[in-house]
Subunit: 267 residues, 2 copies
């Protein structure tokens, strides 16, 4: 575990909740933490470590993991005493895709877009108040920008974040954005008011571009996907080198907006 000691789960990441691991935790919550922990570790893990990771008693963890393995939500990994996600979760995930037109078509469009442009393309959504990359397609550049699907990134770091929050009130936004979220990876601190202003601009422009926010070498182009007039359900975005020419950037934005509009439910 080279990177793995700071991986403590904050159960819901909402500002109000406290507990995290008060003495006697409900089994279901423990399970939710286990799943989330596996999601961030992205690899099979021993049950003992898992117990440590979610800060749960060993005995409890064994019991829960057994249940989950029996149910097929988790599977014992090849070498024997490690667990990871199981087939059942895959099947449920496919059910979700099947029942969700937007996601199904969005994945398609993202794949098309990255194939046509050669750039990394992503479909992003709000996931319980956090920005989430729901699907991404790598593009053909030699140095592909790594951004794992399901990764959760602070909203203010992204162009998509500015679009996704378009419909929300200031108070809602304050609830979703912590102080930490306003600190960019390079250490710069964003002012909340500036961020909210960005959101308004992005909303009226119908797209958003950010340069060098997440890292110094890329800029991020995003366009909104609407589920109803005014309601931003998702965004499509392109991650391009920061020195992409003005002209090409404009072309890409136009293309992106067209595709995002095609995805939108113009009810």
């Amino acid at each position: 575990m080279q990177d793995g000691n700071a991986l403590t789960i904050r159960p819901h990441a909402y500002p109000d909740e406290e507990k995290s691991s008060g003495s006697r935790e409900k089994g279901l919550n423990r399970v939710l933490q286990i799943l989330e922990f596996l999601h961030v570790t992205q690899r099979a893990i021993g049950i003992g470590d898992l117990a440590k990771g979610v800060n749960a008693p060993r005995s409890t963890t064994y019991t829960l993991v057994r249940s989950l393995v029996d149910a097929g939500l988790l599977e014992m990994a090849g070498d024997g005493n490690r667990v990871y996600f199981g087939k059942k979760l895959y099947l449920y995930g496919m059910d979700y895709v099947r029942g969700n037109d937007l996601l199904r078509r969005g994945r398609q469009e993202v794949d098309n877009l990255s194939r046509e442009t050669g750039e990394t393309s992503e479909l992003c959504m709000l996931q319980s108040g956090r920005y989430t990359i729901v699907h991404s397609s790598p593009g053909t550049r030699p140095f592909r920008i790594s951004s794992a699907t399901g990764l959760q990134i602070p909203l203010p770091w992204t162009a998509s974040g500015r679009l996704l929050l378009a419909g929300y009130e200031r108070t809602d936004i304050e609830g979703m954005v912590s102080e930490d979220d306003l600190v960019l990876p390079d250490g710069r601190k964003l002012r909340l008011d500036d961020f909210i202003a960005d959101i308004a601009v992005a909303k009226s422009a119908g797209y958003c571009v950010t340069s060098g926010l997440v890292d110094a070498y890329t800029k991020c182009l995003a366009a909104p996907v609407f589920s109803a007039p005014g309601k931003v359900e998702a965004t499509m975005c392109l991650v391009v080198p920061i020195d992409t020419s003005r002209e090409r950037t404009d072309d890409l934005i136009a293309l992106l907006r067209e595709r995002a509009a095609r995805l939108s439910i113009t009810g």
Copy 2:
């Protein structure tokens, strides 16, 4: 709900367990039943109906659903008071795919195969003792054979089932196959001994063909995917019209076996 009244969940489908809905059920089990119920219904459902469906108290169901929705495993469906699978399950499912070479490559191969042959192609696995279609690709025939991903079908009804059980002892097989499973859709009853004999034949042949088992119009060609020498981890199969010529069938089997072998880990 045209088809939906016999949808009572048998929690694990193992022959030994009894309970199902003894007085005070553990919350986690209820959750597992809820997920499974949603999986078989394949649509959003009201919480009241959900409680009925899994035979759980209404109050409990409300509490659990709330937890699951907060966690993102479930989502309230568009119209307001229905629930279905949520984004989190999709993300976990993608994690599973990412961590599972066989599945990732298998999906690819299946898609290729159905594109090349025009026939419906599937990747199948054992899922806690039951036959499961893990991925399927429709093919180009006018009347596509419907077979939802994640569908669980009795092992004896399928060619894949005969291959998947290749490594198992008679007692194991008896544990996985109920009396009901031996009754084919058309009413014919298979003898367990015949089924076990089929398995042995399939094992030594390295492929399996069944005609008119699930329905009268198709035959099913299957080839094993090995995770270790002798250990069948999955099968690839093709569902073709029952009147497919002997010659073409042989060609398809050869192709299928080649692709399945390519998937196998020849450790």
